[in-house]
């Protein structure tokens, strides 16, 4: 403290001023004394300012010490005032203390010696008071800052206790729960956290163990609905050493919705990629099949034609043998028959191959369905054990197709049907070898001819491959019959439909366009 203490001293009695001046000058620590002998002097000096302390007589002409006190207090500068008073006015001095004077000193030679000490004591007291006030102001300001933060936070904040009670709730918390502060405090943790959330126990356990938890929990709104929230909770101790906890909550419903949407979109995308991949794979399989068929076509063209020459010679030879041996033994005639039959079968295979390799452009004309079916049956070899039923209603429209090609298709379907029933025993009596039903009906601009058997049926896994070339389940077949039939039906503007159930027979339907004149 090297700065001198600046004192404004007001006293109208010169001897007293001398007494005080002497008392202060005895001190080594410097006092800078400004003396005022009248009220105007005092007021002018006070207005100039720069004082640390006011020293005032109690009885001044026309101006009392209490008035000095009031004047000083009116400045708001919080300057301490020490009253110096004549002997015997102690009561008044006590009154002055009551009104805010810092202290008083009696103007006796003995007491005045204590003035410097009193001044130091008053100043020290004021310094401490100032410091306390400052600290209080700072504390208040700090509290205000935190209060504002709490009140205006975009996150819901709760001050809680580890076992569940809630002591403070900010407005954002009220907003997301749809409840008032009091309601939330009353409910406690159990009222706002979804007790069915399986993550809750683990979260509390983690907070107990580590003092902190951060993660997702389901919380409950006033209306009972739950919402996902990101919760951050910490255990700490308050100034009294009690365990407290905080919960900072952010409603992540929207984020979850966005995440869910992204997940859905991703799943959709994945599905579309999968679909596209499957389409591409199927397209590729088709290409491979086409390539296979192109090779088959060339092979069929070459080999098929070449085989017709030796086959023709075999048939000629058999013809000749039968011709020149009319009296041959039964056995030899059987063998002639076998050779002839097998040569015809071979020729049929070659025809299928060639038909498949190169479908003749259909020569379409109006075709009687009735006649087509009857001719097909006439040219087909049907085992006598198979019972044939025809359901050909009168008034069927004419089909518009190549009759030879359609007879080929129907013949194929009939042969297949008979073969599907062949396993139904070697029974020779009519009907025990299965039932073959051929029916026809009009379907808008088409006419449908259905060939139904009571045979073994088709396993589901074979349904798709049915019309693929080279697919066969027959022991002696190359798998072209249905492929050729499908090609021929399509070349004639028609199609072939299949219905089948393993063990319950199959129904193949040739659907052909109706002759235009009849539409």
């Amino acid at each position: 403290m090297n700065q001198p203490v600046r004192i404004l001293y007001v006293d109208d009695y010169p001897l007293d001023r001398e007494l005080v001046r002497d008392a202060l000058e005895k001190e080594h620590v410097g006092f800078e004394l400004v003396e005022a002998a009248s009220r105007p002097d005092f007021e002018a000096a006070l207005a100039r300012g720069g004082f640390d302390l006011i020293l005032s007589d109690f009885n001044i002409l026309g101006f009392e010490g209490l008035q000095v006190l009031e004047t000083v207090q009116a400045t708001g500068l919080n300057l301490p005032v020490i009253i110096v008073t004549g002997t015997g006015s102690e009561e008044v001095a006590a009154e002055a203390i009551k009104r805010g004077a810092a202290d008083y000193v009696l103007k006796s030679p003995k007491h005045i010696q204590r003035l410097p000490h009193t001044i130091h004591a008053v100043l020290e007291k004021k310094r401490l008071e100032d410091e306390a006030r400052q600290a209080e102001a700072e504390l208040h300001e700090s509290e205000e800052r935190y209060r504002l933060l709490f009140e205006n936070s975009g996150e819901a904040i709760l001050l809680t206790q580890p076992d569940g009670p809630i002591s403070s709730v900010n407005p954002e918390a009220c907003r997301i729960f749809g409840r008032s502060e009091d309601e939330i405090k009353k409910l406690g943790r159990a009222g706002i956290v979804d007790a069915n959330d399986p993550r809750l126990q683990a979260a509390l356990e983690e907070r107990r163990r580590t003092g902190h938890f951060k993660g997702e929990l389901n919380l409950v709104r006033k209306d009972g609905s739950t919402f996902p929230a990101e919760v951050s909770s910490t255990i700490f101790k308050d100034s009294r050493g009690n365990e407290r906890t905080s919960m900072i909550i952010r409603d992540v419903t929207e984020r979850k919705q966005v995440e869910e949407k992204i997940r859905t979109l991703n799943a959709e995308l994945e599905q579309r990629v999968e679909e596209r991949t499957r389409e591409l794979r199927e397209a590729q399989e088709q290409l491979v099949l086409q390539a296979k068929l192109a090779v088959l076509g060339r092979l069929a063209g070459g080999v098929g034609h070449e085989l017709r020459n030796p086959l023709s010679v075999i048939l000629n030879a058999i013809y000749y043998l039968k011709l020149v041996q009319p009296d041959a033994t039964e056995k030899i005639r059987q063998y002639h028959g076998m050779i002839e039959q097998e040569a015809h079968t071979a020729e049929k295979i070659i025809s299928d191959l060639l038909d498949f390799a190169h479908v003749r452009i259909p020569d379409r004309e109006p075709v009687s369905v009735d006649k087509l079916v009857r001719q097909t049956l006439e040219h087909s070899t049907i085992p006598p054990s198979v019972k044939v039923t025809l359901k050909l209603p009168a008034g069927l429209p004419m089909a518009f197709a190549d009759p030879r090609q359609m007879e080929q298709v129907l013949g194929n379907l009939v042969v297949n049907a008979c073969q599907a029933m062949a396993s139904q025993g070697s029974a020779t009596s009519v009907g025990e070898g299965g039932r073959l039903t051929i029916s026809a009906s009009r379907q808008k601009e088409m006419v449908a001819i259905a060939v139904k058997d009571t045979g073994v049926g088709i396993p589901p896994e074979n349904m798709k491959k049915l019309f693929e070339p080279l697919f066969t389940t027959k022991i002696n077949g190359i798998g072209l019959g249905l492929a050729v039939s499908k090609k021929l039906a399509e070349a004639n503007g028609g199609r072939i439909e299949v219905q089948s159930e393993p063990g319950n027979g199959s129904k193949f339907t040739l659907v052909l366009p109706v002759h235009e004149g009849e539409q």
Binding site: R308, N309, S312, V313, N316, Y319, Y320, L323, V324
Partner: protein, 128 residues
Amino acid sequence: MSGILAILVVDDNPSMAKTLEDILDVKGFEVHAAYSGAEALEILRKERVDILLTDVRMPDMNGVALYREARKTRPNLTTVLMTAYAADDIIQKGIAEGIKTVLNKPLDIDFILSLFSAYKRLILKEPS
């Protein structure tokens, strides 16, 4: 003019020519067999032939070329083609140049026999 129809069978496959020759012979036709176009022309120069039954594809001369050669000396010769290749371009040319009948292999012998019986009535003016 005898009452027998004379047929020349031509095929580069000897078995084909031979079996046809034998069948037609048994069935009462006069038959000559040749295994090439050149051989066939040789026979045509020497023998009476009413019907030329020839394969289409042969190494030295195809059936239609043979028909053309034969017609130079025998303009009215009835010609029947046999083929294992129904879509052959050569056949289309033959048809355009006047060949009436084309048979697909394997041959339907019964059909050939009935066809030739019809020709016999036509060519030999036999009463039916």
